[in-house]
Symmetry: C2
């Protein structure tokens, strides 16, 4: 993308009402703009990040055997009366009347709607196990929205629902989600620690939240420092292998890790040696629940089992905050100059800076590099504007692309361009063709995950 | 995808309330399920089609130089008061009050919100031309929603907005959209004819609708038969070349083609020889508008031009009905047995039918074919269920995958499998490896459009 043809409205001033780093940086980097309280437009740069996060979530859900679909944003109040939640939910539910006076609502979550679909079409144990999910806009009418997309009112969430014959099957689905979530966050460069949590309005006893450690987190967390050494990495996971999946969950949930809601100081002190006890803050980026028949009983969602008996489905629900993750990643990765995007979610992989726009030789070298990198499948933002070098560097630092390729007349005279890593600041001079080869090897066209190529 | 692990709730009965083919077939093929009046869930098969349509729209917009972003579904009423449309819009606008009593609405379109963004950040003629677009859910509170996703209340639409310095620049943007739309529809296998239209609540004098000819269309259309011979095909289009783009528009708009709203019988008879006069029905799948300063004046969206004068932006807006297209494509392509998907938007490219599930040799042959096709990047739905052959064929015909690969013990004994084209019904027996080679050559991994790989 040529910056001169793009829409990247970076702000020089720090917006006064933005209290945390991610909110400030998303506004300053031209990623978002507030449309109304707690409701944001995703400007082009922010939209790219959102799509990259969304794609990783899709790929890992599909890898775990979960099936994507899409439910609407607006739901009928009648379904929520069946579960009893229409009256329970309180003022955070946005209630709407259509032109015929029918009561509707903007879905904050979808347990009722998905249960309605499944009870209509799934009749036999042979149709199970089944996990359906979608990524859709939700609404929660927060009384005081703040922190930008971290606590917005209209937000983008992946929510998935498992339907199983037995409690054991449903607990395997729960574990499968835990492992797929750990992998999802790791791919975004994040360590999100599963912590025993409270269930809130979803219900159920088994629930874990996933928290990214950050000073600006809304939750107080207590954990065993040993947990921060755990990585799933590139382990081959067979999501149908109950023992393997359960073992990974045990590995990640055995060290003490709880939010203030479930924290038990006595257990903490008994289990964790003093030098490994940590108290910190965390940002919640996901939560999983097993709640058994809480919805299938009132809504009559049953199947016939192997013995011909009609039994209620065992269910769970599982959410990842997709729009919130954009903010959480920035909270985890930024410095005083701007964002430090992990490569997998960076809006562009490389920023190409022309130090002397209008100089024929420099322009020609930049055009060639831009064309070669684009042809190789590298995502490049080419700053072809007339700004001076300092302003160009400041913008690149602010928007946080992982690599900067700097081209100027002096370097070209010596036959070199400069490649700079944003995270470390380390720079290297090398021949233009070496730079292309290096970046192509790193970012060249990645084949889509086989089952997700159609997304 | 293995059908035994998928969620494909096909219906044996034709739903009584579905009046047109696409609505009936989308319900019967397990693509959609009504959530409430005019509001649908997209079940897994339907979701795949929706995503494929969405991707083509994105790719062609990006190819034309338009920039993707994302605006929220809910908007503040205040912005719509600035343009004067809040009171004008009538009962089709879904009006909402939040917990603080603030007036909001579910966006039916986004002229006001995008103008608000642009007026805040675009100040100079040097920032132009600029075309921003998004694909987002919209709501129109139809008094009598019907025809499934063709006239739903919650619908998925691409809407784009151009901002230009002059009327001439804006008319080039208008033409650019026309050409990109023709290409978009052609990629989906559709001929959508640009017809001079009336502008309605968007405003402006220059507007064309794009109509797919179909008996079930809601519009009456009158056209010169010569227009149905026009194809854009794979012509190289330089979207910055005003003359080339204008010439293509002239080619596609010179033959008479109008909806009943703008039809003029005298002109029709004067311009079109009797043997080429056609009267038919059409489905609207898109519309483009140039409306000048209709929004920029009341909302104060200006830039400073080359002479230092402050001038109002010239604008247009341009929409493609993404969810509606799923229905329109089915209206155009179906037979008495089911859907006939064009290859580019088919939910899967190949249906693999095991005629004797449980027979070791047949199962092994199917597994191998399935693995090889998947590895080659072909999208396969493998019917590995216990259904009898007739039922499997009926399901494949209903859901309309372009190719069926049938594997049974008798054929395997002779060393062959059967490859059948859904559209023609033509079948061919060939060796399994030949079938893999044939399908791989046709569907093997297509590299994403260079600039759209991140989507």
């Amino acid at each position: 993308m040529r910056l001169s043809r793009y829409f990247l409205p970076v702000l020089k001033e720090t917006p006064a009402d933005a209290q945390i780093a991610s909110h400030r940086l998303m506004l300053r980097a031209g990623m978002i703009r507030q449309a109304s309280a707690g409701i944001y437009s995703w400007l082009p740069l922010g939209f790219r990040v959102l799509k990259k996060i969304e794609r990783i979530v899709h790929e890992e859900q599909i890898r775990a055997g979960h099936i994507p679909m899409l439910m609407p944003t607006l739901q009928s109040a009648d379904l929520w009366r069946e579960s009893g939640r229409y009256d329970d939910y309180g003022e955070e539910m946005l209630r709407i009347k259509d032109r015929h006076g029918r009561e509707m609502l903007y879905g904050p979550t979808n347990e009722e709607l998905i249960t309605d679909i499944v009870r209509a079409h799934v009749t036999s144990y042979r149709d199970l196990p089944l996990t359906l999910y979608h990524i859709q806009w939700k609404f929660r009418d927060e009384i005081r929205p703040r922190f930008g997309v971290m606590r917005g009112r209209e937000f983008y969430m992946k929510d998935g629902y498992n339907f199983d014959l037995t409690r054991e099957d449903a607990l395997h689905a729960y574990n499968r989600h835990m492992v797929s979530y750990i992998r999802t966050y790791e791919r975004m460069g994040l360590q999100a620690i599963p912590m025993r949590a409270a269930s809130g309005p979803i219900g159920g006893d088994n629930t874990h939240e996933f928290l990214v450690l950050a000073d600006t987190g809304e939750s107080e967390v207590f954990y065993d420092a040993a947990i921060t050494d755990l990585r799933l990495g590139n382990r081959e996971v067979d999501y149908n292998d109950r023992e393997q999946v359960a073992a990974i969950c045990a590995e990640f949930t055995t060290p003490y890790a709880r939010t203030d809601e479930t924290h038990d100081p006595a257990v903490f002190e008994a289990e964790v040696p003093p030098e490994r006890r940590r108290q910190s803050r965390g940002i919640e980026v996901g939560q999983i629940f097993y709640f058994g028949t809480k919805y299938s009983e009132p809504m009559g969602a049953t199947v016939v089992n192997e013995k011909g008996e009609r039994v209620h489905l065992h269910m769970g629900s599982h959410g990842i905050g997709v729009s919130r993750l954009a903010g959480a990643i920035i909270e985890a990765f930024h410095d005083e100059r701007g964002i430090l995007w992990p490569e997998e979610v960076a809006p562009f992989q490389v920023g190409l800076v022309n130090l002397r726009q209008g100089d024929a030789g420099t322009d020609a070298a930049c055009e060639q590099l831009y064309a070669q990198l684009q042809a190789a499948g590298v995502e490049v933002l080419y700053d072809d504007t007339d700004e001076r070098a300092g302003a160009k560097f400041a913008t690149m630092d602010l928007i946080g692309l992982p690599w900067r390729l700097t081209v100027g007349p002096r370097g070209l005279k010596a036959g070199v361009v400069e490649l700079t890593e944003r995270r470390t600041g380390a720079s290297e001079e090398l021949k233009p063709q070496e730079a292309v080869a290096r970046l192509t090897a790193r970012f060249g066209p990645r084949r889509a995950e086989p089952d997700a190529a159609w997304l």
